[in-house]
């Protein structure tokens, strides 16, 4: 579940899912909802992403920043993602994702504006009451 937040200067969203992988997948979808009015839901291009991080919060920020980079700088809009998260020996956590994406088309997707970065402000990734939850603020 995604709830877009009202932040005075920036934008954000709250996520709630049953699995950790779904949380990261929802984060991708929420990001696209912020960036586009009509985000693509499929794409013919494929990309693989491998990220590591010492904790879940850093992994989520890195994931979002990677998607922001792919969208804004590489012109690849990640329309779908297949995410796997596992513990890694030396780095803590590793995320592997297979992305299917579309070439960036500003007008077609109803571009809403640039995102500078995902922030760590008030960020917690927690498992409570049987659900994974996170709250993310983006700097726009």
């Amino acid at each position: 579940m995604i709830e877009i937040l009202d932040h005075t200067a920036d934008v954000g969203f709250e996520l709630s899912t049953s699995t950790l992988e779904a949380l990261f997948e929802e984060a991708r979808r929420a990001l696209l909802m912020v960036v586009f009015e009509r985000p693509p839901e499929s794409g013919a291009e494929e990309r693989a992403v491998l990220l590591t991080a010492p904790d879940l919060e850093t992994l989520l920020v890195r994931w979002l920043n990677e998607l922001i980079y792919l969208t804004q700088d590489a012109g690849f809009v990640p329309a779908r993602a297949d995410v796997e998260i596992r513990e890694a020996d030396t780095t803590g956590l590793a995320l592997e994702a297979r992305l299917a994406g579309a070439t960036l088309r500003l007008e077609e997707y109803g571009w809403q504006g640039e995102i500078k970065s995902a922030t760590f402000h008030g960020l917690d990734v927690v498992f409570e009451d049987g659900a994974w939850r996170a709250r993310v603020i983006l700097d726009v």
């Binding site: 932040h7 005075t8 920036d10 980079y69 109803g110 571009w111 809403q112 504006g113 402000h121």
Partner: protein
């Protein structure tokens, strides 16, 4: 929220909990109402800043305070390197050295009105805005970019993108010393290279304006502001290069903070001691990003001058002169009350008072030009730095109007309206890459800049000099 009124526009938040020092903020009655309406979220962020090690009393916010991430927007915090003072990449922000520059001219408003449509189109064509890349006719190699991050706009001016005199009218001469190309990641270069000379989106803009009112003849005279003449205000920063620098170093500092026993009440405040290897390396990277931002605004100014020429406003009588380029997201070593401190300004500007040596010679007797953009439908202001700011705010002042409405709320409020047409009816031409930005940036989404100026001028941390009104707005 526990605070006490010190004077008409100044308030103190006494030290409590984890705070190392008192905090202080500036507000008019109206601004105070806005703070209460958000349940003092930005003042709580100010209290968080006051918990950082080595902070010099007080932690401050300017009258354009609003809710940020980590630091509040409008935040000013000085740290003493000899007392374990820290540097915080989040306290500088993602858009390192975001700032504004103001160009003046002798062009009369009436003359511009005759060419307004043509100029609006020419500007939109000449200055890349929105997402995407810079002008296809501007190229820069990786080696040239490395030179720019060390030297700022000077190499661009040498290549003909501007006038030598421009460099004298940029804060710090357009160059932060100590920039180190090796302190920036490959991804930061990759993102920055195609974006030099681009406005971006969000609240960034290019505005053609006219001088509508003068409040201080002497300072206006020194700044070259003449009633009824045309000015250009440019707001942009360090683009993807600066964003990446902040992203990279916030993560590194999160790891480093526990090693230095720094307790973080908010992860976005990740910090390391100024004197630590991490702190030093961030300052090298931040300086490089700051120099990129100065160069970005230099290139945009050059494109602006080209657009004026192509709209028929050519010749010496139409020359655009750089009044000043002023940053509002950075950290700088400065001397205050006899000691050297690192002043973070997150959505706040330097506002040095008369007599300060760092200022351009012709402005030194009136104080630093302080450029305060308002919203796109009303007005912007020029102030001068004051002795009061030197005494109370580490030589700092307000940087803008400050948002009061979230982007989402603004979009809802804009539904069913044609804001571009509304602006046109008020005599303001808008050229924008997309409707979303115009809706988000609607006038009503911002506090009235006049309220911010009332508190700033009233508190003596900036002296009102002139008001500028928009004629053309270019948005991303």
């Amino acid at each position: 929220m526990n605070f006490e009124r010190l004077s008409q526009y100044k308030y103190r938040i006494p030290r409590e909990g984890e705070m190392e020092v008192d905090a202080a903020f500036y507000a008019s009655e109206k601004i105070l109402d806005d703070l209460a309406a958000e349940d003092y979220a930005s003042l709580k962020q100010l209290q968080n800043v006051a918990t950082l090690p080595g902070i010099v009393e007080p932690a401050l916010t300017m009258p354009d305070i609003h809710w940020g991430y980590g630091f509040p927007i409008g935040g000013v915090a000085a740290f003493d390197p000899r007392e374990g003072g820290v540097v915080s990449p989040g306290g500088v922000g993602f858009d390192v050295n975001c700032g504004v520059r103001l160009l003046t001219s002798r062009i009369e408003r009436a003359e511009l009105e005759r060419r307004k449509d043509r100029l609006a189109d020419a500007l939109y064509e000449a200055v890349p805005s929105g997402m995407g890349r810079g002008r296809p006719d501007f190229h820069m190699s990786n080696e040239e970019l490395e030179l720019v991050v060390v030297e700022g706009p000077a190499p661009l001016v040498e290549r003909g993108f501007g006038e030598a005199e421009d460099l004298d009218h940029i804060e710090s001469g357009g160059k932060f010393e100590g920039a180190e190309p090796g302190a920036i990641s490959a991804r930061a270069y990759e993102r920055g290279l195609p974006q030099l000379g681009t406005l971006g989106s969000g609240n960034h803009f290019l505005e053609v304006q006219y001088v509508d009112e003068i409040y201080d003849e002497e300072a206006a005279g020194a700044f070259g502001l003449v009633p009824g003449t045309v000015t250009v205000l440019i707001h942009s920063g360090s683009r993807g290069l600066g964003h990446q620098v902040c992203t990279d170093y916030v993560e590194r500092f999160l790891k480093a903070a526990p090693r230095y026993d720094i307790k973080l009440v908010d992860k976005q405040l990740a910090a390391a001691p100024i004197e630590s290897p991490e702190g030093q390396e961030y300052l090298e990277a931040m300086s490089a990003a700051a120099n990129f931002a100065f160069a970005n605004r230099q290139l945009i100014s050059h494109f602006t001058r080209e657009a004026f020429v192509s709209a028929g406003l050519d010749g010496e009588e139409h020359r655009l002169r750089l009044l000043y380029d002023l940053a509002h997201n950075n950290a700088k070593f400065e001397e205050h009350a006899g000691k050297e401190v690192l002043v973070h300004r997150k959505g706040a500007t330097q506002a040095f008072g008369p007599g300060e040596e760092d200022l351009p010679e012709e402005y030194r007797f009136v104080g630093q030009p302080v450029l305060v953009p308002g919203d796109m439908g009303r007005y912007s202001f020029v102030l001068a730095g004051t002795e009061g700011a030197m005494r109370e705010t580490f030589g700092s002042s307000a940087h803008g109007a400050g948002r009061k409405m979230s982007r989402r709320r603004a979009k809802k409020a804009a539904k069913g309206r044609n804001l571009v047409r509304e602006m046109e009816n008020k005599g303001i031409l808008v050229r924008a890459a997309g409707r979303a930005t115009v809706d988000e940036e609607m006038s009503e989404a911002y506090k009235d800049a006049a309220d911010v100026i009332e508190a700033t001028h009233g508190a003596g941390i900036g002296r009102r000099v002139a008001r500028l009104r928009p004629l053309i707005v270019v948005k991303g």
